[in-house]
């Protein structure tokens, strides 16, 4: 049974007096709690952060970026970049698809990226174009459009990744084309050196370190 809350001092009831003592008891208990555990609790809490938009990182690319066959997601290079180089509050979406060409990235991934309003983007689309023999001039033109589209979507840091060599069946050097597009558009070129398109854990780490280094330096 709980005392009727309407009863006040004028009623001078036993329950009212008991309620008074109970409330003081609760107050003193809270005061004691505040001076012991309560104080340390609040001092450990991280400061409040601005709920506004932060860094949005999108990874545009093909199977080297998608890495869907790898068992451990945590060791994929874009995930490592996100974990280690993107500040708290940041957002990351991997838009890559296994068989993406520069044309399909332009048609499919760019609109999705634009809807996310990215601030950072990595672009690595070469393997399918190399396999399909996309002419270097066409590749450059499409890649430039892709970079321009990301710029237009709000990306301020665009990193173009390329291995040491990436030659098409038609004889065009796509790695050289990527370098030319980077120079022309102001994007950051990340030369990965000799990497496999199915890099192991160590390879993923090497790629992530190169990208993170470029992010810090750009």
């Amino acid at each position: 049974m709980v005392a009727d809350p309407q009863r006040r001092w004028g009623g001078a009831s036993v329950a009212a007096i008991g309620r008074c003592v109970l409330v003081l008891f609760v107050g003193v208990t809270l005061a004691a709690g505040c001076s012991s555990s309560g104080g340390s609790t609040t001092s450990d809490a991280p400061p409040e952060t601005n709920a506004g938009p932060g860094v949005v990182y999108v990874a545009v690319g093909a199977k080297e970026t998608n890495n869907r066959d790898r068992a451990d997601l945590q060791d994929n290079w874009p995930q490592i970049v996100f974990a280690e180089s993107i500040p708290s509050g940041g957002i990351y979406v991997n838009l890559a698809t296994d068989d993406a060409t520069v044309q399909s990235a332009l048609d499919g991934q760019l609109p999705q990226a634009a809807s996310l309003h990215p601030t950072i983007a990595t672009v690595w689309v070469e393997s399918s174009d190399a396999r399909l023999g996309t002419p270097a001039s066409v590749y450059r033109q499409k890649l430039t459009a892709l970079v321009d589209g990301l710029h237009a979507a709000g990306a301020t840091q665009i990193l173009l990744l390329t291995p040491a060599t990436s030659t098409t069946d038609a004889g065009g050097d796509l790695a050289d084309s990527v370098a030319q597009v980077a120079k022309a558009t102001g994007a950051t070129l990340v030369a990965l050196g000799d990497v496999s398109d199915r890099a192991d854990d160590a390879g993923q780490r090497r790629i992530a370190d190169s990208v993170s280094g470029a992010l810090r330096g750009s």
Partner: protein, 436 residues
Amino acid sequence: MTWRDAIRLAARTVRRRPGRAVLTVLAVTLAAALLTALLTISTTAETRVLEQLSSGGPLAGIKVAAAAPDPGQVDQDNASPGAPKSLDDAALTQISELPDVREVVPIVSSKVYVITPARDRDNHRIGPFVEDLVGVDLTRVSQLPITPVAGRLPSPGATSEIAVTQGYLERLGLQRVDAPQVVGTALQVASPQVVADGGQFRVRGRWVKATIVGVVAQEAGDGQFLASAEMVAQARDWARAGIDESRDLKLSTSPYTGLFVVARGIDNVSKVRAQITAIGYSTSAPENLIASVRRYLHVVEIVLSSVGIIALVVAALGISNAMLAAVRERRREIGVLKAIGARDRDVYRVFLLEAGTLGFVGGVLGTLVGWAIAEAVGRVVNGYLAAQRLVGVQLTLPWTVVVGGIVGSTLLALLAGTLPAVRAARLPAREAVGGG
């Protein structure tokens, strides 16, 4: 003897024995201060403390699931829900409009994929796991059964702050005392979306690097992570933007995962539960638990009431004792007063005025001291509530407490002084002079 003479005589007597007067006033002051402080705190904190227990708040809460009721479970505290059923704005409005419902807080949740940087006891990396992210309106958290254990709650509207439950600590092999260890660390949290890739469907995540700002004990929803409703809404929107609204992931399609309904008092919980069941939703509420708590609360109330009454009786006995001592010491003075023509009622009036003066002065001082104590306690309580992101209390000193404190102390003193005053008045003049 006129009233003026009686007052002058009583005042002179008080001045002549300052030590006794001060001690008697002190006793009344302490009693009045205690009562004033208790009444002030009780009046203003009633909604924050007692109402939580008896008139509403989390303990008067009913959890409504996005599911039909199971007929065999309706009377149980933790009823198992029946078949899934959409809980939408229409249902929310219908429940909000029930006569004994004070407030309805929507709960949303979303499945998320989580990567933690923590390692287990054997220093092995903990693999990614799927868990529920529970979202609530954090401006109304005082209505919900959510208690911070360490750190703080996420800021209202924040989309990158989360609180974790003890279930998460257990996942990491940590105890409750280890809670501060995880505060300030970051988690990678992904909401899933079904997309097409090369003629196949696959899941794509929208990852958020969220900071763990606190550890909580929460019963608002089933899940190890608590966030703002806005953060969960973003996660759900992302999932729904997938192919066929990502139905392949078997995510709940109900607009709300649940509701937390606060009844107008514990007594109405059963009735409101029955009404919600009649509307067609499964409910659960700690009714049996509350009944047990209320029984224990009543026992505590009786014990504390007894303590309060004993304090009052002791204060009254103190005054009475001081006045009786004064009668014994002033027999000669009483005899002289009677010898020069003072009547019994004049002597009675002098002693009663003396007792009343002591009570009045003690009452005034006690009310001031009591208000100061209530202020100090109120500041500490408000500091604690603010740290917990809960609504603070505004202390007010009701005029009834001021008047009641002063008048009550004076009346108590008059009551306690009645017997000594009667004894003094009935003392024969001859005996009084002789016995002096």
